[in-house]
C-alpha cells in the first residue's frame, strides 16, 4: 500500500528534529549525520513514491492518506490527511532533494560552529514542516505546515541570535509573515463560510457555484498569504534581512523552498483564481511589481547575499506573475520554481563557499578575482548565473522565457504591460547578476592581506556541482515535449486554454535574449574597469534609493511602525491612568473609608454603650413614627 508511505515522508525528518532537540549535547558528535540521514531517507521515500506514481494511469496518480479525525465540531469536520498528486510530488522531490544536498553542505559549512547539532535539528524541522505544507489535503492542514516553516525560518534566521541585529532580523521576518498568515486564516474562514469545507477537493467541487464576491475575497486573502510568505510586494521587506541566517539556510529556505510556498498556494488554489478573474489579475500585477522591485534592489546591493536575496524576490515575482496568468501559466510558474530551486540554491551555496574562503566577508567590493582561487565555486556559480539570466540551453531560459511569452500573450494592454515588465526584468536581471559575477570572480583582487581565499572541501562543492548540473539540464528535461506541463495538467488545467499570440515564441525568445545581452553588456562595460573597494557616495538619488531597498523600510516605519508605537504608548497611558487609576481609586477609597470608620472602634466601653443607647433610642423613635 503506497499511500501509507506518505506519512513517513514527514515523520522521518520530524523524528530527526525531535531526537536531536531532546538528546541535546549528547548527540553533538552524530547529530549532523542523523539529520542528513533522515532527510536523505525522506528523499528516498519520495523517489519511490514518484516511481510508483509514474507507473499508474494519469487519472489515478493522486493518492490520499487519511490519518485521523482532527476537528469534529458539528458541521465543521476536518480530517488530518495527506494528498500526494502530480503537483505535490514536484515539491516533495525538490524539498527533500535540495534539502539533502544542503544538509550535506552544512556538515562542512557549519563544522566550526559548536551549535551545529541544533542547526541540523532546525533544518530537519523545516523539512518536515515544508513537506506537511505541500502534502496537506486541506487548507487547514496546509496552514499547520505554513506556520511550521515560519517557525523554522524564524529559528534559523536568528540562529546566531547572540548578535542583536540578527535576532531583530528574525523577529522582523516573523512579524511580517504574521500579516500573510492572517490572510491565510481569513481565506480559510471564507472557504468554510462559503463552501462549508476547507479541503482542496471540497472547495474545488463547489467553486463553480459560489458567488464571485466570496471567491474574489478568498483569492485576495490567499494572495496576501502568498505575498507574506514569498516576500512579494508589499510584504517583501523581510527577505533581505533574513540573510542574517547561515548561508545554507538562505539557500534552502529563503531561495529554493519556503519562499516559494506562496506560488504553491496559488497554484494549488487555481480553481479559486480561475473563477475570480479580478483576484487573478491582482496576482499578476503583484508579481510584475515585485519582479521589477527585486531586480532594481539587486542592482544596488554590495552584500552578495542581499543581492541574491533581491534576485530571489524578483524571480519569485516571475513565478507569481506566471500563476496570475491563468491556466496557461501555472505549469511554467512551477517549472520556473523548480529550475530556480536548482540554480538559486546553487548560487547561494556558491556565495557561502566564497564567504567560507574569505572569513565571512560578504561585501563584493572586497572580493575580486576569486575565480583563480576557487575554480569549482566559480564554475558552479557561473552555471547558475547563465541559468538565471536565461541563456539557452540553461534551465532559466526554458522556464523564464515561457512566463514572458505567456505574459505577452495574455491579451490586449494587459499582455503588453505584464509582458513588458517581465522583459524589462529579464534585462535588469542580466545586469545585476553579471555585476555580481564580475565583482566576485573577475577583475583585480581587492581583499585585505589577511584573507586567504581557498577552495571549499568536497562536502561543500559536491552539492554545488550537483545543483549546477540541475541548472544546466533541468529546463530541457521539463520542457521537452511539454513534459512538466502535461504532468501537471490534471491538477491545474480545467477546460481548454485559449491561445492568443501577440508574438511567436521564437520572436519572444530572441527579444528576451537581446535584452539579456544588452544588460550583460552594460554591466561588463561598467564593471570591467577598476572597482572601488568602498561603495562610492557621490551617486545619483536613484542609486541611493535603491541601496535603501527602494525605501521599503522607511515606508513601513513611517506608515505602520511609528503610528503603531504612538497608538501603543497612548493605550499604555490610558491603561495606567484610567484603568489602573480606577482600580487604585477603589483601593484608596476603601482604605480611606476604613480609617474613617476605624475611629469609632476606640476601645472605650462607655462610647460603645452610648452608641447602643443612641441606636436603641433611634430604633424606638422610628417604630413610634411608623406606628403613629
Amino acid at each position: 500500500m503506497t499511500s501509507s508511505l506518505l506519512v513517513y515522508l514527514i515523520a522521518l525528518p520530524l523524528a530527526g528534529a525531535a531526537i536531536l532537540l531532546a538528546a541535546g549535547k549528547r548527540s553533538n558528535s552524530w547529530g549532523h549525520l542523523l539529520g542528513t540521514a533522515t532527510s536523505a531517507a525522506s528523499f528516498g521515500v519520495g523517489a519511490y513514491l514518484f516511481t510508483q506514481m509514474l507507473g499508474r494511469a494519469t487519472s489515478d496518480r493522486a493518492i490520499e492518506q487519511r490519518l485521523f479525525s482532527w476537528i469534529a465540531v458539528g458541521k465543521f469536520q476536518v480530517d488530518a490527511g495527506l494528498l500526494l498528486d502530480q503537483l505535490s510530488i514536484c515539491f516533495v522531490l525538490l524539498i527533500t532533494g535540495v534539502g539533502t544536498l544542503i544538509h550535506i553542505y552544512s556538515i562542512a559549512y557549519m563544522s566550526h560552529d559548536h551549535d551545529r547539532r541544533r542547526f541540523f535539528a532546525y533544518l530537519n524541522l523545516f523539512i518536515a514542516a515544508m513537506l506537511l505544507l505541500v502534502l496537506g489535503n486541506s487548507y487547514l492542514n496546509l496552514y499547520v505546515g505554513w506556520e511550521g516553516v515560519g517557525l523554522a525560518s524564524y529559528l534559523l534566521i536568528g540562529f546566531w541570535n547572540q548578535k542583536p541585529t540578527y535576532a531583530a532580523a528574525a523577529k522582523k521576518a516573523f512579524v511580517m509573515n504574521r500579516i500573510g498568515d492572517m490572510g491565510l486564516s481569513f481565506a480559510i474562514m471564507i472557504a468554510f463560510a462559503t463552501f462549508g469545507t476547507v479541503s482542496f477537493a471540497g472547495v474545488k467541487e463547489h467553486a463553480h457555484h459560489a458567488s464571485s464576491t466570496a471567491l474574489t475575497a478568498m483569492g485576495i486573502m490567499l494572495l496576501v498569504a502568498a505575498a507574506g510568505k514569498s516576500a512579494q510586494f508589499p510584504l517583501q521587506a523581510w527577505l533581505g534581512d533574513a540573510m542574517a541566517g547561515p548561508t545554507p539556510v538562505s539557500a534552502l529556505i529563503h531561495a529554493a523552498t519556503m519562499v516559494t510556498a506562496g506560488v504553491y498556494l496559488i497554484t494549488r488554489s487555481n480553481f479559486v483564481f480561475d473563477a475570480a478573474p479580478n483576484a487573478q489579475l491582482a496576482v499578476a500585477i503583484i508579481g510584475a511589481i515585485t519582479l521589477l522591485f527585486g531586480a532594481l534592489v539587486g542592482t544596488a546591493k554590495d552584500d552578495i547575499k542581499k543581492a541574491l536575496a533581491a534576485s530571489t524576490m524578483s524571480q519569485i515575482g516571475y513565478m507569481i506573475l506566471g500563476t496570475g496568468l491563468g491556466a496557461a501559466g501555472y505549469a511554467f510558474a512551477i517549472m520556473h520554481l523548480l529550475t530556480h530551486g536548482f540554480f538559486k540554491a546553487g548560487m547561494f551555496l556558491g556565495a557561502g563557499s566564497v564567504m567560507h574562503g574569505m572569513d565571512d566577508e560578504v561585501n563584493m567590493r572586497k572580493y575580486g578575482g576569486l575565480a583563480k582561487f576557487m575554480p569549482i565555486t566559480a564554475v558552479t556559480f557561473g552555471f547558475g548565473y547563465l541559468a538565471i539570466i536565461g541563456v539557452p540551453p540553461f534551465a532559466g531560459f526554458y522556464s523564464k522565457d515561457k512566463i514572458i511569452e505567456v505574459a505577452l500573450n495574455a491579451g490586449g494592454a494587459r499582455g503588453i504591460l505584464l509582458g513588458g515588465a517581465a522583459l524589462l526584468g529579464a534585462a535588469i536581471t542580466a545586469f545585476y547578476m553579471t555585476r555580481v559575477v564580475i565583482l566576485t570572480f573577475a577583475g583585480a583582487k581587492r581583499w585585505d592581506a589577511k584573507a586567504h581565499p581557498h577552495e571549499s572541501p568536497v562536502l561543500m562543492w559536491l552539492p554545488m556541482a550537483i545543483l549546477a548540473i540541475g541548472s544546466i539540464t533541468s529546463g530541457y528535461f521539463f520542457s521537452r515535449g511539454d513534459a512538466l506541463r502535461n504532468w501537471l495538467a490534471p491538477v491545474v488545467e480545467h477546460g481548454h486554454v485559449e491561445e492568443q499570440e501577440l508574438l511567436s515564441p521564437e520572436v519572444t525568445s530572441l527579444l528576451a535574449l537581446g535584452l539579456v545581452l544588452i544588460g550583460v553588456a552594460i554591466a561588463v562595460l561598467k564593471y570591467r574597469r577598476e572597482v572601488a573597494d568602498t561603495a562610492p557616495t557621490n551617486v545619483s538619488i536613484f542609486t541611493k534609493i535603491a541601496r535603501r531597498d527602494l525605501l521599503q523600510d522607511d515606508f513601513n516605519e513611517a506608515v505602520f511602525m511609528r503610528p503603531g508605537q504612538a497608538i501603543t504608548s497612548g493605550l499604555v497611558s490610558v491603561d495606567e491612568k484610567v484603568i489602573d487609576g480606577a482600580v487604585r481609586g477603589v483601593g484608596a477609597m476603601t482604605l480611606g473609608s476604613g480609617s474613617a470608620i476605624r475611629t469609632t472602634q476606640n476601645g472605650y466601653v462607655r462610647s460603645y454603650a452610648a452608641a447602643i443607647l443612641i441606636g436603641a433610642i433611634l430604633l424606638i423613635g422610628a417604630i413610634w413614627v411608623v406606628v403613629q
Binding site: N602, Y604, V605, R606, A609
Partner: protein, 99 residues
Amino acid sequence: MDASYYLYLAALLFTIGAVGVVVRRNAIVVFMCIELMLNAANLAFVTFSRINGNLDGQVMAFFTMVVAACEVVVGLAIIVTIFRSRRSASVDDASLLKR
C-alpha cells in the same frame, strides 16, 4: 392611685441608669447603674402586670432578677480580676482590645 406614676418612676430610674453608664468611669458605679436600669425595667413589668390584671409581667420580673444575679456574679468577678491586674477600676483604662 394611678398606676402610670410607677411607669414615670421606672422611666426616670432607667434614664438615670443609662446616663450613669455613659458618663461614669468607675466600673463599680457603671455596674450599679446597670442594676438600676434592670430594676427600672422590673418595675415597669410589674406595673404593666398590675394594669393588665395578669401575672405575665410578674413572671418576667423573676426572670430578670435571675439574669441580674448571674450578671452580678460574672461582672463582679471580671471587675475584681481587672482591678487585681491593673490596680484600677476605671473602665477607660481597660481599652486594650483596640490594639
